[in-house]
């Protein structure tokens, strides 16, 4: 896992709402090495979906990419023409949405929707497309007799499999999955994630999984990108970021989720408070209002992303004291409104 497939640098995406501007993604940088699964994790509203959509350049009417680069195999997706970008869509970058129910057109059969990309985007003939449809259904473990069914005739888990089949249809290099299992129960979540992992390894593709659930990252990802309020707080290998987090927010997130195996490791401690309003972000570190380790400088100076280990970066003024902070963070009372230091 050396070669980089996608390299996002200082990406900025904002939404215009009336007269004000929301910088939903405010200078995000991270890499996706070829053949890996990268987890983009953070609380609701931190800009994960905004990044995922920006990578396809299909963004809301009131959104615009205001800066930065998205280098995909040497091409900057930000500066490609709409035509060039469209040529890449689905053939090289595919998408698995959160709710397969809403993302499949209710009036067409699943086969017709697979055919649509296979024939219109992949240039396959009728017969080849039919063969590929059966192949894809076999790949995701659905009986091919169900190709002629409509989306509403599938269960939630199966629909998500259909969405995976759809994403893999044209052999893309990168698959972006936005909360692919959030709507499912834990057992089905595991099945879908197992399948995703298997297919990813077999096909050698790269996957970005967007999730608010750090246990999903622990279960399936090779690398972690932790986002907070439109910025990257910490990024690195899954092992390094989750076992030895250097950013207090990552430490907090780790305490807030049970793992996917079902057993809660210790007590679950939520991080108190809520992320800042992105129309009026606090100066300095955006996590400062909720951070138990906040210092005076934190409120004034924005901490830059700095290397804290091999292939491991974090944006915290106190990243150097990470070992000590981790022991404190493991204690419940640290997070219950008591600000230490």
């Amino acid at each position: 896992m050396t070669e980089t497939l996608l390299s996002v640098r200082d990406l900025r995406v904002s939404y215009k709402v009336g007269a004000s501007r929301i910088d939903a993604v405010d200078g995000a940088s991270f890499d996706v090495p070829r053949g890996t699964i990268v987890g983009l994790v953070g609380e609701s509203g931190c800009g994960k979906t905004t990044i995922a959509k920006a990578l396809t350049r299909v963004i809301a009417d009131n959104a615009s990419i205001t800066g930065g680069q998205m280098m995909f195999e040497g091409r900057d997706l930000v500066s490609l023409s709409e035509r060039q970008m469209n040529a890449l869509r689905w053939r090289e970058i595919a998408f698995i949405p959160q709710s397969a129910m809403n993302s499949l057109d209710p009036v067409y059969t699943v086969e017709s929707q697979l055919n649509e990309v296979l024939r219109r985007r992949g240039g396959l003939g009728r017969r080849e497309a039919r063969k590929r449809c059966e192949e894809l259904f076999e790949l995701v473990g659905i009986d091919k007799g169900r190709l002629s069914d409509y989306p509403h005739q599938f269960s939630g888990g199966m629909r998500q499999r259909v969405a995976i089949a759809l994403a893999l249809a044209l052999n893309p290099k990168l698959v972006i999955a936005d909360e692919p299992v959030t709507a499912l129960d834990v057992i089905v979540q595991r099945q879908i994630l197992d399948q995703l992992r298997e297919l990813q390894a077999a096909l050698g593709i790269s996957v970005i999984i967007v999730t608010h659930d750090i246990s999903v990252v622990a279960y399936i990802c090779d690398r972690t990108v932790v986002m907070y309020a439109g910025k990257v707080a910490e990024a690195g290998s899954m092992q390094a970021t989750l076992t030895e987090p250097s950013h207090p927010y990552t430490m907090g997130l780790r305490n807030a989720f049970p793992d996917l195996q079902g057993a809660a490791s210790g007590t679950l401690t939520p991080i108190e408070g809520a992320p800042p309003n992105l129309a009026f972000p606090p100066p300095g570190c955006r996590f400062a209002p909720r951070c138990p380790f906040v210092l005076e400088t934190c409120r004034q100076v924005n901490p830059p992303l700095e290397t804290v280990g091999p292939n491991h970066v974090a944006a915290c003024h106190r990243a150097g004291e990470a070992v000590e902070l981790r022991t404190q963070a493991a204690r419940v009372d640290t997070w219950s409104g008591k600000v230490l230091a």
């Binding site: 959509k53 396809t56 299909v58 469209n86 040529a87 890449l88 869509r89 689905w90 053939r91 998408f95 949405p97 709710s99 809403n102 993302s103 499949l104 057109d105 209710p106 009036v107 059969t109 649509e116 990309v117 219109r120 985007r121 069914d149 409509y150 509403h152 005739q153």
Partner: protein, 325 residues
Amino acid sequence: MPHLKAAISRTLQLALVLWAVVTILFLMFRLMPGNPMAAYIDPTFTLEQQQALMAQFGLDKPLWEQYFIYIGNLLQGELGQSFRYREPVATRIWALLPNTLILTFSSLILAYTFGILAGAYLAWKRGGVVENAAIPLVLTTRAMPEFWLGMVLLAIFSFNLGWFPAGGTRPAGASYDSLWALYTSREFLSYLALPALTLAIYSQGLPLLLMRSNMLDVMKEDFVTMARIKGLSNWTVVVRHAARNALLPVMTSFAIAVGYQLQGNVVVESVFSWPGLGRELVNAVSASDYPLAQGAFLMIAVVVILMNLIADLLYALLDPRISHA
């Protein structure tokens, strides 16, 4: 077979509605103040003559008995005698119904074809100059009275330009081998043009605005965003996905609009002297020709109820969530 069950219960429901309509019509015309025969019975008739007539029409029997006779007759397709024309009401209605249906359907098909295309286009080009100009225009057409619109079209295209005849369904004195020959003749089309256009202009606003607002809603759906992420062409996204889904409720509204139109035809049929059911209904009521009025009412009600059934079936046909439940 959940389908069959649904279809049967739906049909029973409609039968019940039809029965209610029939009963209300019966009561309406029997319980109205005044003698229903007043217009028919000449004051110079002797009492015996009057009595004989009352007996002939069954009006001397108690109300409940009259009701059963009436229902029995209806079941045999017997609608009674028109006071005014002295001929069976059914004959009269069957002669007028095709004119009304042709006018209604041709104008609505015109209105819906235009409305759906224009509505979809306006939703697609949301926020542009075209939209800013078009919406007030559409609202204006909705506000124009039908008779006024009809007169204007008459004045321009018939009296001034002489492109179309002013009224009726055929040239004076012309005769045709069959109704079919009449309805497929070129002259008939030229007679149909102006009244159909008037109704079409009057009716296109509803499908247009409905289609537009449905489209705007559907365009926000995830599957439309996904279609874009798939790199599909703009045309595929807008027509194959957005418009196809937005069309569902519009198609249903077509069937229901037929019912409305039947009631609304009266004005246009009068302006263009179009021999239809609506005009006849008004004439019958003002001439106190109760059997004819009752028959015309009933016919319109039957068409409205049928169209509702068709709307349901259409929806099931177009929406796999219902047909493949």
